[in-house]
């Protein structure tokens, strides 16, 4: 019987809710494991889950510096989409989308995946042509995409300014109906419970302080809770990639850490039932089930490990919101926060064996990590288990930068702050 069901809810209600098991244990780390996953965020937890579920590798520890889900998995704006231009990205993110569509059932945990669509707006005919090209590229690979006219957009989002006198008049948009949002904490908790029930040890408050080595080979880690040995050590530490790789003696990476801010407004009645992205700047917005508008914009634009942002970006994001929704001018912002993004040199992720023997690396998620959570863990688990990439992540190996095989969806070149 599923652990969470209408039946178990009723049974536990009748017995005073005394018999619920914690969603994951709090084990002390063992002396050794088959696989150590560093990083108890979405990607680390999903990696452990798929290692156990798909590959039968259950002697696994997930080491988390703080508490589970305290990093980017709880700091993003929860958008899930697969509307990319380049085939490597489209295939990978579409695989993720398919995992999302069945995730609540697979985990027996309601991640509240809501396929409310994602609409990219165009403000010039040239931009509209560009969206049409991207839509065609998506449909060519079997992903849903449809162009929308200004009148259709006005019907879908009545609050938006579609008039010709808008600051940046809207000429159309590209909609992916299967895109949507999910509850990000539930994703972390659901994967954690799924991994835990299959025997994975999730060790919180356990910071990695160094690597154990035998020559070049990584044979384990030193942590604030002692030495732990492992045949394979996998990193899924997102914004902290630079710091952890430095512990392994690797200073230079095709990664820069930048801070990205996100914002939530006070609760409003339903006003936006899709995800919208602005085309004349960097701005995206959706509305949470509680009613708060969840939105964000550009990176602060310089290397940062501080999980907080600066005011010029707050100003810019708000002005972009008002360019789209003049009617929101008097809505108050409730909270803002920052997360550290591992920006790669081509804007695409890295899921790779190496770079040292015994090590596996998952990073470079830029600001797109949340939607990738299922496929990232799925592909990383495959790579760890088989010592080679799956065809979905074969294009995302670390050596692509040195082989001239970059995957630059936005065409920005090696300038991480612009991806």
């Amino acid at each position: 019987m599923a652990e969470y069901s209408a039946f178990s809810l009723l049974k536990n209600a009748l017995t005073g809710n005394k018999d619920w098991k914690p969603a994951w244990r709090k084990p002390d780390p063992k002396a050794s494991y088959d696989v150590i996953v560093i990083g108890g965020g979405g990607h680390g937890l999903s990696t452990a889950y798929y290692l156990a579920k798909e590959h039968g590798i259950t002697n696994v520890a997930v080491l988390e510096k703080g508490w589970l889900g305290s990093g980017n998995v709880g700091r993003n704006t929860t958008a899930v989409r697969s509307n990319y231009l380049l085939p490597a990205n489209t295939r990978f993110y579409e695989h993720s989308m398919k995992l999302w569509e069945n995730l609540s059932h697979d985990l027996n945990y309601n991640v509240m995946f809501s396929q409310r669509g994602c609409l990219n707006l165009a403000h010039t005919p040239g931009q509209f042509d560009d969206l049409a090209r991207r839509g065609n590229a998506m449909r060519h690979l079997g992903v849903d995409a449809e162009l929308m006219t200004t009148a259709e957009i006005a019907r879908l989002v009545p609050a938006i300014d579609v008039s010709g006198s808008a600051r940046f008049p809207i000429v159309g948009g590209l909609m992916q109906r299967r895109a949507g949002t999910a509850r990000h904490d539930a994703v972390a908790w659901g994967y954690a419970r799924g991994a835990d029930r299959r025997g994975v040890d999730i060790v919180e408050n356990c910071e990695v302080t160094g690597f154990l080595r035998d020559g070049d080979r990584i044979t384990g880690v030193t942590t604030t809770r002692g030495e732990i040995r492992a045949k394979k050590v996998a990193l899924a530490v997102a914004g902290s990639t630079g710091r952890v790789m430095q512990l392994a003696g690797i200073d230079h990476m095709p990664i820069e850490s930048h801070v990205l801010q996100a914002f939530v407004s006070e609760s409003l009645k339903p006003i936006i039932d899709t995800i919208l992205t602005f085309g004349m700047g960097h701005f995206y917005i959706s509305q949470s089930d509680k009613g708060g508008l969840v939105y964000g914009g550009d990176l602060d634009g310089y290397n940062s490990y501080a999980q907080r942002g600066s005011l010029p970006i707050v100003d810019e994001v708000m002005s972009e919101m008002l360019a789209l929704f003049p009617g929101l001018a008097r809505v108050r912002m409730l909270r803002s926060w920052g997360g550290v993004c591992d920006m790669s040199m081509d804007g695409s992720p890295i899921i790779t064996t190496g770079p040292l023997p015994g090590m596996y690396l998952n990073c470079g998620w830029c600001y797109g990590g949340f939607k990738a959570t299922p496929a990232s863990g799925w592909c990383f688990a495959w790579t760890i288990a088989k010592d080679e990439p799956h065809e979905f992540n074969a294009p995302f190996m670390l050596d692509r930068f040195y082989r001239g095989l970059v995957i630059d969806d936005k065409g920005q070149g090696a300038t991480p702050r612009l991806h």
């Binding site: 430095q246 095709p254 820069e256 850490s257 940062s304 600066s310 010029p312 930068f401 991480p416």
Partner: protein, 98 residues
């Protein structure tokens, strides 16, 4: 965040454009050393702490600056011209003109 431009004095960060890691060395134009080019184009130091980086005062005097900034606190410990400053501007300054 304020950056103390050697020409213009302390100015708001929005006047500046970030150009990233200042430790990279561009190979000679005719160099065929692929490893050196790869390292120059793709590899970055990404420290948590003091970072030696290049900024341009693009909304001001347009000088390129070498800034040492802490990536955890955003505290700036030094600001200087990236290449010793522009010659005419340096002369301008030496002659005491404002």
């Amino acid at each position: 965040m304020l950056i103390n431009c050697p020409y213009c004095g302390p100015r708001d960060v929005i006047e500046f454009t970030y150009q990233g890691d200042g430790n990279r060395e561009r190979p000679q134009a005719a160099s065929q050393n692929l490893d050196a080019w790869n390292a120059y184009v793709y590899d970055r130091l990404n420290p948590a702490g003091d970072h030696n980086e290049i900024w341009q005062h693009s909304g001001g005097c347009r000088a390129h600056l070498r800034v040492v900034r802490n990536t955890l606190t955003h505290e700036i410990s030094s600001t200087a011209f990236a290449h010793g400053g522009h010659k005419s501007a340096a002369r301008h300054k030496a002659e005491g003109k404002s």
